[in-house]
Symmetry: C2
Subunit: 376 residues, 2 copies
């Protein structure tokens, strides 16, 4: 039985769903000769580690209890008196993680799995690269940091996977990587890459108010913790940057033209999430409704799309025919069209649900299984 050791950062919706998938796939994976050994889990405050990182693991009962606690809003630190584990506070956790990475990475291999939405994991991740660890990301931020960080992460390209950073579990990155490794030349990528904005745009098209739709999307888990991360277009911008960098473009966030759906004065520097949802966003309803109506009178719909072509990389609202592939999109579906040498007349199209913890975590799990040959 091949054992894949992993350390999980982030126990929000995606992280917890990943642990749930790992536990429920035990017998499936055993049939394929693989066992996922969860060495440690951390949230923003604490790190929980099995007492023997080289051979031990946080067992399934423990992982289930951990998920239960976290979904109730408790901290990992309350797990200290449960089973054979060690709990470290924030101040010690980075050093402990580096020690584990050094020890496990070079012996059996260690997959460092980032399911957080934090920009604070970058420092750690760039360090564990050199310790022989594999990196699996659902977190987009490490890939959208400075060019130096990006290049550091890809020092060993076979050791990193990040399917769920674009289009949740949709096989977007895996497919692009296949095209690139076979020498296909990619000319143009266009797509609707935000499950949230796809959902929002198609719901307001049905006559609902922007403010109501955004609140509903948040409660369905379709948005980032702060929905402005979606509405700003920054999240789509990050995905566009990830795709552009995958194609070999040496650019950063500043190079991407991004249209925001709210004005600067409603940004996080000026109001809290609650204020924005309770007051700010209401002021945007009418304007959006006007734009939708106007598009509708032309037989069109509004979609928030990204375009990557040559040196061009931009994201924003476009008015599109309602019978086009993008115009036909409903709910939180994402769609990506790729034009290349092999797909020159008609694009390669990948379409489906591009949001949701289940799908996102499934993409992360598929990534972990995909690197299994690197483990002894």
């Amino acid at each position: 039985m091949k054992k894949i050791a992993l350390l999980l950062m982030g126990c929000g919706g995606v992280g917890r769903q990943l642990l749930h998938h790992i536990v429920s796939c035990r017998s499936l994976h055993a049939k394929k000769g693989v066992h996922l050994r969860v060495v440690g889990v951390c949230d923003s405050k604490s790190l929980v580690v099995t007492s023997d990182v080289l051979t031990g693991e946080l067992d399934d009962a423990f992982l289930s209890e951990l998920c239960r606690l976290k979904s109730n809003g408790s901290s990992l630190s309350s797990l200290s008196d449960f089973g054979e584990c060690r709990v470290y506070a924030n101040s010690e956790s980075n050093n402990t993680i580096l020690e584990i990475a050094a020890l496990v990475g070079k012996s059996t291999g260690l997959a460092f799995v980032d399911c957080s939405a934090s920009s604070e994991t970058i420092g750690l991740i760039t360090q564990v690269v050199d310790l022989g660890c594999c990196i699996v990301l659902a977190n987009k931020k490490p890939l959208t940091s400075r060019t130096e960080d990006y290049e550091k992460l890809f020092s060993y390209p076979r050791y990193i996977r990040h399917e769920s950073t674009v289009g949740a579990g949709l096989p977007v990155i895996a497919s692009l990587n296949r095209m690139l490794s076979s020498g296909d030349t990619i000319h143009r990528i266009t797509g609707s890459l935000s499950g949230t904005l796809g959902y929002v745009m198609s719901e307001i098209e049905r006559g609902k108010r922007l403010s109501d739709v955004v609140k509903a999307a948040k409660s369905l888990g379709f948005t980032e913790p702060d929905p402005r991360d979606d509405l700003s277009g920054m999240d789509v911008g990050r995905k566009a940057l990830i795709l552009a960098r995958l194609l070999g473009r040496h650019i950063d966030m500043d190079s991407i033209k991004i249209e925001s759906l709210y004005p600067k004065e409603m940004g996080p520097d000026f109001m809290s999430v609650e204020e924005f949802l309770d007051n700010g966003i209401l002021l945007l309803d009418n304007d959006v409704q006007e734009r939708v109506k106007k598009a509708s009178m032309n037989g069109n719909v509004l979609r928030y799309v990204c375009v990557i072509e040559g040196t061009r990389c931009e994201v924003g609202i476009q008015e599109l025919p309602n019978n086009s592939a993008l115009g036909r999109l409903r709910g939180s579906d994402n769609v990506l069209e790729i034009y290349s040498r092999c797909y020159s007349e008609q694009p390669l199209v990948i379409q489906g649900a591009g949001a949701g913890n289940d799908t996102t975590a499934a993409g992360v799990l598929a990534d972990i299984l995909d690197i299994q040959d690197l483990f002894s």
Copy 2:
């Protein structure tokens, strides 16, 4: 530099295109730290092998010359006086291949790449599995043989790839494998999986005659060597079987309901390919034209599709709305819709060119790169 040793079976359109891709990707692959070492190439009559299979290779000049010869219709045997290689006749080639597989498979690893359309490679392929070789298939036949053969091929599931057996280079198998390894449950697959029949159906829809369209498709390289392999539905049936087996169904070709586009009395037992194309197929033109007209009067189009759901696995012509995803298909595009736990309301859709030597060979090359971690 990691070296991936490979032995290629079949130098038809796909095999030659693969060699061309390998040569033209040299610098791209070098940047990724990989070198593809072509140890040997065989067609139906001969086997050409580098004189030192453990470290040598057929060099790029040799491979180009080989492709030139084969595309002129010459045999590999005429290469005997060119460079440092050995040429074996058909009678010796199987034993020689097994010797090479034993020697190279267990030292550096060997990818056994089948780009033929032959059912005669199965015996050899099932044998090299036990010799530690990887298997990469564009040839569908080894996967649609008896259940025992199929299970033998998947003895080591990480050692086999076969993207280009369904939908040419479209990321169909890779995507399904990702879904399966993450524990997603697949409920239903529907699709248009024949580039040839997709092309044929959309061309006759435009008023062309079946016979003309099939001849044009053959000359464009869209058909199997004998176009009846496509028109019989057997080729789509094989793809449906490959997908159904991937989902874990223990069935064989006999379990699949297949609609043929020509009657039994025009089959290979009764007339040659030439007879069929010169005389037989003309007799089918009117009937097909009638069916197309009838569908058109209902606002529909005819598509040749496969459906896999529960124990159901069938392929044949269906009358579909011309504004559905399948009805909108043009040219040789394939489309696959996958319904699963993660894609329950809207399917995961993968669409694009599903035929052509360039795309098919690109899929094979991506598969070869995908198994690189198994090579020392």
